[in-house]
């Protein structure tokens, strides 16, 4: 099981702040493939989104990153603080 968080415009566009999924996934890329199967909106907002930012267990990372059960994966647009 992994926990997924969505922030800012992604959260609004997907209509979801967080969820947990039980399907076995071993990398962020695999997780994105899985989520993209939900339809065009998900595919566009996540898998096809070249500006997508990814954090695994609160550390920024890339699509190649390995993930394992219990991990917290966050997806968000480029940050704009300060």
């Amino acid at each position: 099981m992994v926990r997924i968080l969505y922030f800012a415009s992604l959260r609004e566009n997907l209509g979801l702040a967080d969820e947990s999924i039980n399907e076995p996934v071993t990398t962020v890329a695999e997780l994105l493939d899985l989520l993209a199967q939900r339809g065009q909106l998900w595919d566009e907002q996540l898998r096809q989104n070249t500006r997508l930012q990814i954090a695994v267990n609160q550390t920024m990372t890339k699509r190649e990153a390995a993930i394992t059960t219990g991990d917290e994966i966050a997806f968000f647009p480029p940050v704009t603080g300060g």
Binding site: L5, F7, S9, R51, Q58, F76, P77, T80
Partner: protein, 145 residues
């Protein structure tokens, strides 16, 4: 991270705490503007990633500590709904000399702008919109690498 406003003078006094080896404090305050990219902004809402945001700020501060001889760092970032003229962010850096203080404050702001998970949503007459990340913030970051 806090929703409350901050007092710059009080924060400086707390950072100094009577430490007489500090010769220089550089400060930066970011404020909500009423105009951004051609649109009037009535309110701004700041979202963050509880847990990760704190960790990013601590990481940025420790990178600054490793790079410059600093005697203290303060970073305060507000979240929630803010109005034009309100304070958003405060960065303070204390050092014996001014160049370390100035440079580390600029470094922290450049990293914070492009690495810390905060997102701004502006309410404008044309509706609410998420502020887009700026290319120039990535460029600003590059000079520290």
């Amino acid at each position: 991270m806090q929703t409350d406003d901050f007092d710059v003078n009080a924060q400086m006094l707390q950072l100094r705490q009577g430490n007489a080896s500090i010769g220089a404090i550089a400060a930066f305050v970011g404020l909500v503007r009423d105009l951004n990219e051609g649109s009037t902004v009535s309110t701004m809402t700041l979202e963050h990633y509880a847990g990760m945001t704190e960790k990013s700020l601590i990481d940025i501060a420790s990178q600054a500590q490793n790079r410059w001889p600093l005697q203290g760092i303060t970073i305060i970032h507000r979240v929630g709904e803010l109005n034009p003229t309100e304070q958003i962010v405060l960065v303070l850096t204390a050092s014996a000399h001014r160049h370390a203080a100035f440079e580390s404050a600029m470094f922290i702001m450049d990293y914070l702008k492009s690495q810390a998970p905060f997102w701004k949503k502006e309410a404008t007459p044309e509706g609410a919109r998420w502020v887009d990340a700026r290319e120039s913030d990535e460029t600003a970051l590059a000079r520290w690498q």
